[in-house]
């Protein structure tokens, strides 16, 4: 049982309110999508929830214990975090990149022992990376790198996965795959929290949405009932059409108040 709770989070930077009184609660087996326009505070919220940024005010608790009281390593064993456009700075192989996800459980010196090695193998297989395992990670394509980073986050078997824009920059097939993988993780009992811009992916794969606007939480609830045309209109200031078809939900949008001459 995992439960991540945020109470009245406020983040002030350079006299600007990045987040204002955001409260939420998320539990295991949920795929929470954080949506909102650029600059709404999504990345900041994810950093705070991941325990990487201390809020100016408010509290995040994991199973009732405040995050800041957990040590960095103890927290790292329970949650994985992927920032926007994660990359690797050295051309190390995919296999070793994925193994870096084990950092919090490894001793300070020495190599990988047998159980850890088979864990790396298993995650590589799960993410279809076995043929690429020896390839330098700097030569991977965008989709492959995204898969490798997800494998890096999964290899430590964390209870919570916090991912900032996992589908940005991916082609449609890889974006769908990435979202489906996150959904599968949630179904296997993890708590997944991700900021996602592609609302169709949000509608199809997430179980719950949190909508942010100018640092405030404007709406939250189960995706099915909460992600509506009205909400999208309100949050993103566009005319939206949310259609739920048997093939999967679709979200499409048009400019809100088109200029008379633009048509």
């Amino acid at each position: 049982m995992t439960s991540l709770t945020a109470r009245k989070l406020t983040v002030i930077r350079h006299d600007r309110h990045i987040l204002q009184g955001v409260s939420l609660e998320a539990t295991d087996s949920e795929f929470v999508a954080v949506i909102g326009p650029n600059g709404a505070g999504k990345s900041t919220l994810l950093s705070v929830l991941a325990g990487l940024l201390a809020p100016s005010d408010g509290l995040v608790t994991l199973d009732g214990a405040p995050l800041k009281l957990l040590g960095g390593t103890a927290l790292a064993r329970r949650r994985a975090y992927l920032p926007q456009n994660p990359r690797c700075e050295w051309p190390i192989s995919v296999e070793r990149l994925v193994a870096l996800g084990l950092t919090p459980v490894l001793p300070a010196f020495g190599g990988l022992s047998e159980p850890f090695r088979s864990r790396v193998d298993a995650v590589l297989a799960l993410c279809d990376l076995l043929p690429k395992r020896m390839q330098p990670s700097t030569t991977l394509s965008g989709g492959e790198l995204a898969r490798a980073m997800l494998a890096r986050a999964m290899v430590g078997d964390p209870d919570i996965l916090i991912v900032d824009e996992p589908t940005t920059g991916l082609d449609p097939r890889h974006a769908l795959e990435a979202a489906a993988r996150l959904r599968a993780l949630a179904q296997s009992g993890k708590l997944v929290i991700a900021a996602i811009h592609d609302l169709t992916l949000v509608a199809r794969y997430s179980t719950r949405i949190i909508a942010l606007e100018a640092g405030r939480l404007v709406c939250e609830g189960p995706t099915e009932s909460t992600l509506t045309s009205e909400l999208v209109h309100r949050v993103f200031d566009v005319e939206a059409c949310v259609s739920r078809t048997p093939g999967g939900a679709l979200v499409d949008y048009l400019p809100a108040s088109p200029h008379p001459n633009s048509r």
Partner: protein, 350 residues
């Protein structure tokens, strides 16, 4: 997650490859050590007076003379070359991993410049004449001051702020050093300052080894503790922090380690460039680019490089003038390598 349902074939293939890799690694380490031993042997025997093993078995007087040269001149010089070269190589590897910048080197944080300034101050005021260890001691103080300044300035601003602070502190320390040179009381002091700045392993005895050795060992131990964190840092600072890496601690270990080790080394030998820059680059492709795995190979390579350079200065006599300074030698040999690095970066850039 189905962690236990790994295809046995995959595991077996990976295991085979790992064993081959380990064999390769051990062979590489073995070759490096053999090279080091060979260089050490040459270093003990070569010089103005060439020693031959037969001399130790000759008449009483020759044997005593040979032993004297070996134990009091060659051996401390060898030990110092190994310590200084090794710590320069290690520090280069740690700093390049920490900053994820292939051009980082021990001089980057202002430590070498600080040590130079401290040592030059001692020469300037003639303290070196009153007691022998004044120059290295003041050099160490200079390194400490430079590192404190760098750390205070660059604190909490991430790696980039740290590098910029290092550049600023280096600039200040060099300016003060040149000021001392400018105001040197007499030509002899100016000459002494300049020749110290060139960096040399010549005429160093056990005193210098005992003075610098402990600092180099402790500093190197601190630097060696950063391995796992350096690996995580190759994913960037955000991911490294999310993996439980304490960035403040890593910065501190790398900086304090570099100050103690490289500060002490520079205080004794003068500034020796390029060894710390080159050693990690030579080893990086051989260990799969992983920062932690570069540390020890780079240490051994640094030691071998400096030892080879020191032998070079003794073998290459231009036929006139004094012995070549080892700092000049490494710079002459190292600069073409730097050019190559720039050309390669330019080719890799889009």
């Amino acid at each position: 997650m189905p962690f236990d349902s790994v295809l046995p074939a995959v595991a077996a293939g990976a295991e085979r490859r790992r064993r081959a890799e380990r064999r390769l690694r051990l062979t590489g380490a073995g070759l490096l050590i053999v090279l080091l031993i060979a260089l050490a042997g040459i270093s003990l025997l070569c010089g103005t007076v060439w020693l031959r093993p037969a001399q130790f078995l000759g008449s009483e007087a020759t044997a005593r003379m040979a032993r004297l040269i070996l134990l009091d001149l060659r051996l401390p010089r060898l030990v110092l070359a190994l310590l200084v070269g090794g710590t320069l190589g290690l520090s280069g590897a740690v700093l390049q991993g920490l900053t994820r910048n292939p051009l980082a080197e021990p001089g980057l944080l202002g430590v070498s410049a600080g040590a130079s300034f401290g040592a030059v101050t001692s020469i300037y005021f003639g303290l070196a004449g009153s007691f022998a260890t004044a120059t290295p001691l003041l050099g160490l103080c200079g390194a400490g001051i430079a590192m404190t300044l760098t750390f205070a300035l660059g604190r909490g601003g991430g790696t980039l702020a740290l590098i910029l602070a290092g550049v600023a502190v280096s600039g200040l320390m060099y300016a003060l050093t040149y000021l001392a040179l400018n105001l040197a009381p007499n030509p002899y002091a100016a000459y002494e300052i300049t020749s110290w700045l060139l960096g040399s392993l010549a005429d160093k005895g056990w005193d210098q080894v005992w003075l610098a050795g402990p600092f180099i060992v402790v500093g190197s131990a601190l630097m060696a503790m950063t391995g796992r964190s350096l690996d995580a840092l190759s994913l960037g600072e955000a991911q490294a922090r999310s993996l439980g890496v304490n960035l403040e601690r890593v910065n501190w270990l790398a900086l304090a380690g570099t100050t103690l080790a490289v500060g002490a080394a520079t205080a004794v030998t003068g500034a020796i460039g390029f060894v710390g820059l080159i050693a990690p680059h030579l080893m990086r492709p051989l260990v799969g680019y992983q920062p932690r795995r570069i540390l020890w190979p780079s240490t051994l390579t640094g030691a071998a490089l400096l030892l080879a350079a020191d032998i070079g200065t003794r073998l290459i006599h231009l036929g006139f003038g004094p012995e070549l300074k080892v700092g000049v030698f490494t710079s002459l040999v190292g600069t073409p390598f730097f050019f190559w690095l720039v050309v390669r970066l330019r080719r890799l850039a889009p």
